[in-house]
Each structure stands twice: as structure tokens, then as C-alpha cells.
């Protein structure tokens, strides 16, 4: 599996660290309550199709990427910087 890093270009999966579903970008307020935090930390849609994920290009530029990937076929459909700059 190859991921096209917006900064470095197409690179092998081995260069990337996987964080999981891109829920980390939607952190609840500290006082949002235990249900909101449980939702954020633990509960997952876990679809068998397209999923937005966070990957870090650890062995490259170090950028955090938001990757849309089909988790059944492993097709990478879209990659952008997690900070939203690309």
C-alpha cells in the first residue's frame, strides 16, 4: 500500500505511522460530559468501506495526514494535510 504524501509524493506504507479514525480532529470541550468523551475516545463507526484516518509521515516529512481509505480494498482515495493546508 502506498500513500501520496502532499509534501513528499507517493511513499510506501512502511514510512507512515497509523493513528486510527480521524476523530482526533474533533476533540470535545473539557466539560462536554462523559458521553461525549466516551464517543470521542472509544466508540467508532468502524465501517467496512471508506474511512477518514490519521496517518503520520514519520519516516518522511513528519506531517500528520488525513487519509480517506477503503478499509476493505485498501484503496487510498484522498490525502490532505490534517491541518487543512492542502
Amino acid at each position: 500500500m502506498r500513500i501520496v504524501c502532499p509534501i513528499c509524493g507517493a511513499r510506501d506504507r512502511r514510512e507512515f505511522y497509523y493513528q486510527g479514525a480521524a476523530v482526533a480532529l474533533e476533540r470535545p470541550a473539557p466539560d462536554a460530559g462523559d458521553a461525549a468523551w466516551d464517543d470521542y475516545l472509544h466508540l467508532r463507526d468502524n465501517p467496512a468501506g471508506d474511512l477518514d484516518e490519521l496517518w503520520s509521515h514519520d519516516a518522511g516529512c513528519g506531517a500528520w495526514l488525513k487519509v480517506t481509505r477503503n478499509v476493505s480494498t485498501h484503496e487510498v482515495k484522498a490525502v490532505r494535510l490534517a491541518g487543512g493546508a492542502s
Partner: protein, 417 residues
């Protein structure tokens, strides 16, 4: 039909013409007391114990593919009770005791082989940790003993002791651990459940879960609607999709775990051996193939196949531990879809929907749990109360923080188990 030595002898002398199908293939009835979604090892075991322990036989097991076609047919067949966290240790201890009586219980040869498991030790710190683990296993009532380097050498002559990257300082020996024939486990539970009146319905995919005013009423399937007083979801890697039909989100991520087998070889490895430094473990099947595996591919996946980086990693570990493996040809590799929970421990609980129950989160350890998973899930479905060995395995433990069983001391967090 019961298996016996006499039956096998008679059939052998008369052309093996007297064997029939091992389970019925009935049409689904319009209504059952209990419907189980998922005809894998855990679902079939649940059906067996519902019938044999609780006398509840108006039960259907719905399977979208064929019985035992999921993870119970895709694992590395290891059976053990070497846990040390309260909650999990008594559960797996319970499971190993059920394994020890399983063949008589089912009248089916599941080829349970208590050949022993040896966890190799590579440092003083790891030795201390394994001595502690062994003591806790013994305190739990299970068996464990520490092996000296010479004792490990005597038992495992295949290992490279002199040049290995991680020298071997001994091992933790769990003699009652071992392997079982994975498919036979599914078939044995299926046969027993069917004989006792449970309907096993294959090629029947659940497409909806009917909930009215917070109470489960039944399921929609590709073979028509089926009403049910209680529904149990036992879908392993597909648990999230099943739960979503009832509007639930689970604390589960699905990941793929690979395994490998070599061509058949003469007997050369008598035990199950784990090599923690390389995330590697190996045993030899009764057909002679060396069966081994490693860690998750480390990203979400529903593909029942693995990636190359992990295959390389496993091969490197194999060559480090047992360079002689380089002479063996790899026959096959495969992957199973694991239902990973945030703390590395499973969930057996009721849900917020009355009559709807969930059994999931087995991470990479579901096979050895098969009998106890079925036994305790059947207890919950039949009595409404958790079995004493699963009181901590609640669905809401991540929200409340009570009873979290953090298997790898990494915190209750996805992707770290």
C-alpha cells in the same frame, strides 16, 4: 449418531457408508426464543450451552456464509490460560477447564493437544515479569513453571541459542496449554447444538434488527423476517456492522492479523513457542506444517489477507529465532479480521436495548476463549445475569472507567493493543 471406537471400526470394515450429515439444515421458523447472529465458534458454542446447560432449544443461529467460515477457521489454534489480569485470568482459566472436558461433552474429537506452551525469556527483567506471571497463574489454580536455559535447550533443540539477537535465558512453561483442531471445534459445537434442537441456518444474512420502543422484536434476514424474544450478536470482526443495524456504536476497531504455514515436515517442534521480542509464535500442526504468526498489520482492515511489511517482519523474526526455518517453503498465508477493543479485553454484556445482547472485542485471542465465551454468553442470555467470570466485561466500562482490563498496560486506547 454417536461416535465410538466400535462405530469407527464397523464403518471402517463396511466402506464408511453409514456416516450421515452432522447437522440438520432446516428452514427458518417464523419465531424463536433466542436468535444468535453469527455461526462462528462463539455463536455455535453459545447455542450448544444454551441447549445443554439451560435446556433452551428454541434457538436459531443465523450465518451469512457457512458455519465456521470466519475466524474460527482462520486462527493459529492455540489454547492457553496464562493471563494475569483479574477478570481475564479467571475467565481463561474457566475456558481451559471447559476445553479439558470438551471432547467428552461434545462426543467429538477436536484434537485438543495439551503439548505445552513455552514463553521464551531474553532478559533479567523479562524473567522477573514471567516469574510474577507464573506465580499469578498458579495462584489462579492453573499451572506454570520456570525453565532454566538448559531445560529450554533440551525441549527445543531447533532454536538458535548462540548467535541469536536476543539470547535465551529460560522460559515460562504452561504445560496445560496447547492446540486444538480449529475447524473441528466449530463442527463439534454445531453438531451438538443441532442434535439438541437448535436450528443452524446458513446463507442467511441479517439485514436489520427490529427494535420497538427500546425492546428487540426480531431480525430481518435475506431469508425473511424472524421474530425473537432475545437476540445475541456474536459477529467478531463484523460486530460494528451488526450493532449499527440496531443503531449502536461499539468501542471496536477491526484489524487484520496474519498467519502462515509451511509445507508439511516431520515432527520437529513439540510445543507452542512464543518469542515476544520478535512478536512471533510458532507450533507444528498434526499435518506437519509449522504454523506461525506475528502482530497486527496495524491499520484498520476488513481484508482477510495481510500486507507485505508484516509478512517480512514475521519472516525476519522466524529466521532470527530458528534459522533452520529458512529451509522450509511457505505454503500459505492468510488473515483474520479481529474485533479490537480499547483495553485489549472482550465484552459480554446486555445493551441499552432490552433483549439485545453483545459478545465482541476478542482482539487476537478469541479461539482459546471459544468454550467459555459460549458458556458465559449462554448464561447471560438464559438468566439475564452475567456469569461470575464475566462480571467485569461490561460494554460501558470505557465510559465509566470501572473494571477496565488493560491487557498491555498501554491505557484504554484504540491502536495500542
Amino acid at each position: 449418531m454417536r461416535f465410538s471406537g466400535l462405530k469407527i471400526l464397523t464403518e471402517g470394515l463396511t466402506g464408511n457408508k453409514g456416516w450421515g450429515p452432522h447437522w440438520r439444515s432446516p428452514e427458518p421458523k417464523p419465531e424463536y426464543d433466542i436468535v444468535l447472529i453469527g455461526g462462528g465458534g462463539h455463536g455455535l458454542a453459545t447455542a450448544h450451552y444454551l441447549a445443554s446447560v439451560h435446556g433452551i432449544t428454541n434457538v436459531a443461529v443465523l450465518e451469512k456464509g457457512y458455519l465456521g467460515g470466519g475466524n474460527v477457521g482462520r486462527n493459529t489454534t492455540i489454547v492457553r490460560a496464562n493471563y494475569m489480569l483479574p477478570g481475564n485470568s479467571e475467565f481463561y482459566s474457566h475456558s481451559l477447564k471447559l476445553w479439558e472436558g470438551l471432547e467428552e461433552d461434545l462426543n467429538f474429537n477436536v484434537m485438543h493437544s495439551q503439548r505445552g506452551i513455552i514463553n521464551l525469556v531474553h532478559s533479567d527483567g523479562q524473567r522477573d515479569a514471567f516469574v510474577r506471571r507464573g506465580n499469578m497463574m498458579r495462584g489462579q489454580g492453573d499451572d506454570a513453571e520456570m525453565l532454566s536455559p538448559d531445560e529450554v535447550r533440551r525441549l527445543l533443540p531447533m532454536i538458535d541459542y548462540d548467535q541469536t539477537r536476543f539470547p535465551i535465558f529460560g522460559g515460562l512453561y504452561h504445560k496445560r496449554g496447547g492446540t486444538a483442531r480449529h475447524d473441528a471445534v466449530a463442527w463439534g459445537f454445531a453438531r451438538s447444538a443441532s442434535d439438541r434442537g437448535v436450528d443452524l441456518i446458513q446463507q442467511c444474512e441479517v439485514t436489520g434488527i427490529d427494535v420497538e420502543a427500546g425492546v428487540v422484536r426480531g431480525v430481518q434476514t435475506t431469508r425473511g423476517p424472524i421474530r425473537a424474544k432475545k437476540v445475541g450478536m456474536v459477529a467478531a470482526g463484523r460486530s460494528s456492522q451488526v450493532a449499527a443495524m440496531a443503531g449502536l456504536r461499539l468501542p471496536i476497531e477491526s484489524h487484520v492479523l496474519q498467519a502462515f504455514v509451511t509445507e508439511g515436515l516431520k515432527p520437529c517442534l513439540d510445543h507452542v513457542v512464543t518469542y515476544g521480542m520478535g512478536h512471533f509464535y510458532i507450533s507444528q500442526s498434526d499435518k506437519g506444517g509449522l504454523v506461525f504468526g506475528g502482530d497486527l498489520d496495524m491499520y484498520a482492515s476488513y481484508a482477510s489477507r495481510g500486507n507485505l511489511p508484516l509478512a517480512e517482519h514475521v519472516a525476519e523474526a522466524a529466521m532470527t529465532l530458528m534459522p533452520v526455518l529458512g529451509k522450509a517453503r511457505m505454503l500459505r498465508s492468510w488473515g483474520g479480521v479481529m474485533d479490537m477493543s480499547p483495553d485489549g479485553s472482550f465484552i459480554i454484556d446486555r445493551t441499552d436495548i432490552e433483549g439485545l445482547f453483545v459478545n465482541c472485542g476478542w482482539c487476537y485471542g478469541g479461539f482459546k476463549a471459544t468454550p467459555a465465551s459460549g458458556h458465559t454468553f449462554a448464561h447471560l442470555l438464559a438468566t439475564g445475569q452475567p456469569h461470575e467470570t464475566t462480571v467485569r466485561h461490561r460494554l460501558d466500562r470505557f465510559r465509566t472507567g470501572r473494571g477496565i482490563m488493560d491487557e498491555e498496560a498501554t491505557g484504554s486506547q484504540h491502536n495500542l493493543h
